[in-house]
Amino acid sequence: MAQEDVKLLGVVGSPFVCRVQIALKLKGVEYKFVTQDLQNKSEELLKYNPIHKKVPVLVHNERPINESLVIVEYIDEAWKGKSILPADPYQRALARFWAKFIDDKVFGAAWKSVFTVNEEEREKNVKETHEGLQFLEDELKGKFFGGEEYGLVDIAAVNIAFWVPLVQEVAGLQLFTNDKFPKLYKWSQEFLSQPTIKECLPPRDPIFSFFKARYESLLASAK
């Protein structure tokens, strides 16, 4: 059998790349991380993701897969081991729904809450973030979104667990706090401390500095 060739085109500090790293680690897949310069996109990135030109891109035996949630499902199907999606069709539909919800409604709004200079825009996005987080708070019934063990939704929500608290601190916003969302907060602490997850998280300080610099440059350019 041919040697598996698995490459992940990504950047350290991207929550979407982190999702893929978690999935690969869960399945025990060995891979090569190929760091990208997003200000100066490589030929490889443009070849493997001509449509969106973004990371992450998983390249498996020379064939590219794009979009983090599509990649995570692919990893679940291509490699045996711990299941990321549930087996039951209804539970699978729910998992896919909540993972998509995080991307469509929560994380985007959280990001826009921080990285904007328009106060009206900020207020609108803060409201939407809070509404989204409340839905997640209400949806969380057990230890993890996946039940006793974490699954697709938990992995998708790494964006919320690690990145939202980080960027809200950059802008001095109160988006995701223990007071407002106690169950979700507890989940985030539990999830981030899981060994597999912990090993896939980027170092906090350099990422914080990176986003702080970006925030400050945004403020400066608006003046």
């Binding site: 449509i51 599509v70 069709p89 209804y90 539909a93 896919r96």
Partner: protein, 219 residues
């Protein structure tokens, strides 16, 4: 016990049509409930409290939302015939990628073009055509996006075809000239009863959009 299947939808929705085609392909009997989105029903609000949108499939009392998720659910539950998903994980990932692409791009770009004028309108039109050209490239020389069989991505994309007349009329272009291979694929899809019996007449869609435009412009 018989399955109880209800679909909350609106006749003109490209996303709702995906679900109707999927149910027809599987030969599933269901109760269709046309929704009034200006006056949302208690049932819709109960079954989709998060987004308050259609389509919603209600299977034995349990709701499933988001058209691409519903179609995969239908495939996984009624798995004794006409599989939608390719068997290879890589092909499945490609199908999911392109459905996601069409979700993110087509309707939003159409809206940019629809009621705008001048440069904005031209830019929207150019972008819309380029999206369909990208989809045409993804088809290549295959009979269907699913290869030899009509599958998930075919179901995901075919509903947009009944909006082509509307896109063409507002944008002043012809799909046949821009994307002939895609139009040939549309014709092949229409040979399937599940598609031809499900999709509404494209002139009816246009009349609907025209009426919407009048309402919006009179506000």
């Amino acid at each position: 016990m018989a399955d109880e299947v209800v679909l909350l939808d609106t006749w003109v929705s490209m996303f709702g049509m995906r679900v109707r085609v999927a149910l027809a392909e599987k030969g599933v009997n269901y109760d269709y409930k046309e929704q009034d989105l200006k006056n949302k029903s208690p049932l819709l609000l109960e079954m989709n409290p998060i987004h308050k949108k259609i389509p919603v499939l209600i299977h034995n009392g349990r709701p499933i939302c988001e058209s691409s998720i519903i179609v995969q659910y239908i495939d996984e539950v009624w798995n004794d015939q006409s599989p939608f998903m390719p068997s290879d994980p890589y092909d499945r990932a490609q199908a999911r990628f392109w459905v996601d692409f069409s979700d993110k791009k087509i309707y939003e770009t159409w809206k940019k073009m629809w009621l705008s004028e001048g440069e904005e309108h031209e830019a929207g039109k150019k972008e819309l055509i380029s999206i369909f050209k990208q989809l045409e490239d993804a088809l290549g020389d295959k009979i269907f996006y699913g290869g030899d069989s009509f599958g998930f991505l075919d179901i995901g994309l075919i509903p947009f075809s009944c909006w082509f007349y509307t896109f063409e009329t507002y944008g002043n272009f012809k799909m046949e000239a821009e994307c002939p291979k895609l139009m040939a694929w549309v014709k092949r899809c229409f040979q399937r009863k599940a598609v031809s019996n499900t999709l509404p007449d494209d002139k009816k869609v246009y009349d609907f959009v025209l009426a919407m435009e009048k309402i919006l412009k009179n506000k």
